[in-house]
C-alpha cells in the first residue's frame, strides 16, 4: 500500500477566468482504487476542478499529476495522458452521427490503434456490462437519457482508463433513470476503479465514496470519510449546504452566501 503512488495528485491548483477566481488553491489526492466524491453548491468550482484533472480547463497555476505524469507541464503529451483518464459528462456528449457501437469503437481504433475485431469485442463487453448491449445498432437519439449515459460510461471504460472522472453524471436525467446509472457506478467502484465524482447524489456519496470533499467558493472546506462529512459535518457551511440538499423544503435560513 505504501509503495503505491497516488493516481491523482493536485497541488495548490488555481483557476481564474479574467478577474473571476473559480479555484483558489486546491490540494487533493486520490489513491488507487479510491472513490472520492466532490459535493458543494453550484458555482463552488467543483466541475472546474474535475475538468482541470484532464486539462479540459487549463489551470492558471498549480500542478495536476496523474499517475506520476505532470499534466500541467508545458511539454506534456496531453493526448497520451488523457487516454488513461475516462470522463463522463453531465450532458453525455455521445457522438450523434454514430451508432452506439461505433461510439464505443471509434477512439479505440483511432487512438489506441486496436484492430477492428478487438475494438468491437471490447465495446460489446463494456456495453453488456453497463446493460445496454442490446442497443448496439441504435443511434444515441433513440435512447433514453439513462441509456445514453451508460453508453458514455462504456465508451470511457473501453479505453481501459486507470481513473474515471464523473461530472454530475445524473444531473441531466429524469429522476426514474438516475438509479440505473448509479447502479453501474456502484458496480464500477466495487470492482476497484479509481473514481473522482462530482455529484449531488448524497446517498451515493455516503454509500460508495471512500472520501467526500465539500467545496464552496473555490476552496475545499471539508474533506473526510464519507460518513463523517455527510453524517457529522464539522463546518457550518457544510451543515447549511447539507440541510438544504437533504431537506429542500425546510425554511431557508438567512446565511451569508
Amino acid at each position: 500500500m505504501t509503495s503505491m503512488a497516488p493516481v491523482v495528485e493536485i497541488r495548490d491548483l488555481h483557476k481564474a477566468y479574467g478577474q473571476h477566481e473559480v479555484l483558489k488553491g486546491i490540494d487533493l489526492t486520490v489513491e488507487a482504487g479510491q472513490v472520492v466524491c466532490v459535493i458543494g453548491p453550484s458555482g463552488s468550482g467543483k466541475s472546474t476542478l474535475l475538468r482541470c484533472v484532464n486539462l479540459l480547463e487549463q489551470p492558471s497555476a498549480g500542478k495536476v499529476i496523474v499517475q506520476g505524469v505532470e499534466l500541467t507541464h508545458r511539454d506534456v503529451d496531453i493526448d497520451a495522458a488523457r487516454r488513461r483518464v475516462g470522463m463522463v459528462f453531465q450532458q453525455f456528449n455521445l457522438f450523434p452521427h454514430m451508432t452506439v457501437l461505433q461510439n464505443v469503437i471509434i477512439a479505440q481504433r483511432r487512438v489506441l490503434n486496436r484492430s477492428r475485431a478487438e475494438a468491437e469485442q471490447i465495446a460489446r463487453q463494456n456495453l453488456d456490462k453497463v446493460g445496454v448491449g442490446m442497443k448496439c445498432d441504435s443511434y444515441p437519439a433513440q435512447l433514453s437519457g439513462g441509456q445514453q449515459q451508460r453508453v458514455a460510461i462504456a465508451r470511457a471504460l473501453a479505453m481501459s482508463p486507470s481513473l474515471m472522472l464523473f461530472d454530475e453524471p445524473t444531473s441531466a436525467l429524469d429522476p426514474e433513470l438516475v438509479g440505473d446509472v448509479l447502479t453501474v457506478m456502484r458496480r464500477l467502484a466495487a470492482e476497484g476503479m479509481t473514481m473522482l465524482v462530482v455529484t449531488h447524489e448524497m446517498a451515493f456519496a455516503r454509500d460508495v465514496a471512500d472520501r467526500v470533499v465539500f467545496m464552496d467558493g473555490g476552496v475545499i472546506v471539508e474533506e473526510d470519510a464519507a460518513a463523517r462529512v455527510i453524517g457529522d459535518p464539522q463546518h457550518e457551511r457544510t451543515r447549511t449546504f447539507l440541510r438544504r440538499v437533504l431537506d429542500p423544503t425546510a425554511q431557508p435560513e438567512t446565511t451569508t452566501h
Binding site: 488523457r82 487516454r83 475516462g86 470522463m87 456528449n93 457522438f95 450523434p96 452521427h97 483511432r110 458514455a152
Partner: protein, 283 residues
C-alpha cells in the same frame, strides 16, 4: 398627449356618423375579398383580350423550333450545365471547408486570409470573376487553367461558391455543441483527429439544407460560362438556347431552356425544404 386629444375628439361621435358601423367585421371582410377578385378578373380579362396570342405563340412556343432543340438540349446542354455546376460545387465545397477551418484557426494570419478571400469573392459579381478568368492567360503568361473550357467554367464557379460555402460551413462547425470536442479530446483524440472524425461530419450534416440552396444558385450562375466564349461541345443551357434562338430568329429555345432549368431547380428547392424540416425534427 396633444396628439391624443386631437384624435379622440372627432372620433367621439363615431357610432352615429361612421358608415362602417353598418357592416360587421365579417361582412367587411367579405366585401374586401369580393373587390380583390373583381380586380383580378379585370386584369386577367385585359391580358386575354389585349395580348397578341398568335404572335406570342409564333415567337415563344413554336413547336418545330422546340423540336429541333431536343436531343442536344439534354445530351449536350444540360449535361454540360451539370458538369460545370457539379465541378464548381465540388471544388467550391472543398475550398470552402478549408476556408472555414482557416477562418476558425488559432493562427491569426490564416483567419485574415480567409476573411479577405470571403469578403472579396462574396462582394464581387460572379460575372466579373468570369471576365477575369478570361484574362488570366494574359496576366500570367504560360498559365493555363487545366481542363480547358471545362476547367475555366468550373474554376469560376468554384471561386464564387467557395466564399459562400466557407461562411455556411463556418456556421455549421460552430453549431456543433462544444461538448462534442470535449468528449473527443477526453478520449485522447488530438484536435485534428477530433475535427476530422467528430466535428466536420456533424457540421456537414447541419449544412446540407443551405448547401442544397447554394447548389441551385450555382446552377443558375453556370449560365455565366456563356461569357467565356464557349462553343460546340462545351455549351451549357443558356448559351445553347441563345445560339439556337439567334439561328431561328425565334425565342422558343430560350423558353425551352428556361423550363429545363426549372425541371432541376424546383425539385431541388423542395428537397432543401424537406431536408430542413427533417433536421428540425431530429434536433
Amino acid at each position: 398627449m396633444t396628439d391624443q386629444s386631437t384624435t379622440t375628439e372627432p372620433n367621439a361621435p363615431a357610432p352615429t356618423t361612421a358608415g362602417a358601423a353598418r357592416f360587421s367585421p365579417r361582412r367587411r371582410q367579405q366585401v374586401s375579398r369580393l373587390l380583390q377578385y373583381l380586380i383580378l378578373l379585370t386584369a386577367l380579362a385585359a391580358v386575354v383580350l389585349l395580348a397578341d396570342w398568335e404572335g406570342l405563340a409564333q415567337n415563344f412556343a413554336k413547336p418545330d423550333v422546340a423540336q429541333q432543340a431536343l436531343p442536344a438540349l439534354f445530351t449536350v446542354a444540360l449535361a454540360n450545365t451539370m458538369i460545370y455546376t457539379l465541378g464548381g460545387f465540388l471544388f467550391g465545397f472543398l475550398s470552402g471547408l478549408l476556408l472555414a477551418l482557416m477562418r476558425l484557426s488559432t493562427v491569426r494570419a490564416y483567419r485574415w486570409l480567409a476573411i479577405a478571400y470571403i469578403e472579396i469573392f462574396r462582394g464581387l459579381p460572379a460575372l466579373l470573376i468570369f471576365l477575369l478568368i478570361l484574362f488570366l492567360p494574359l496576366a500570367l503568361p504560360g498559365l493555363e487553367v487545366p481542363g480547358g473550357t471545362y476547367g475555366q467554367g468550373v474554376l469560376g464557379l468554384a471561386l464564387v461558391a467557395a466564399a459562400y460555402m466557407a461562411e455556411t460551413l463556418r456556421a455549421g462547425l460552430q453549431a456543433v455543441p462544444r461538448g462534442q470536442m470535449e468528449a473527443a479530446r477526453s478520449l485522447g483524440m488530438s484536435h485534428a483527429r477530433s475535427m476530422v472524425t467528430i466535428i466536420i461530419p456533424q457540421a456537414i450534416r447541419i449544412v446540407i439544407p443551405p448547401t442544397t440552396n447554394q447548389f441551385v444558385s450555382l446552377l443558375k450562375d453556370s449560365s455565366l460560362v456563356l461569357f467565356l466564349g464557349v462553343s460546340g461541345e462545351y455549351v451549357e443551357l443558356t448559351k445553347y438556347g441563345n445560339d439556337l434562338a439567334s439561328q431561328h430568329a425565334n425565342a422558343t429555345p430560350i423558353l425551352v431552356v428556361g423550363v429545363t432549368y426549372l425541371l432541376v431547380t424546383i425539385p431541388l428547392g423542395y428537397l432543401a425544404v424537406r431536408l430542413e424540416k427533417r433536421q428540425e425534427k431530429g434536433r
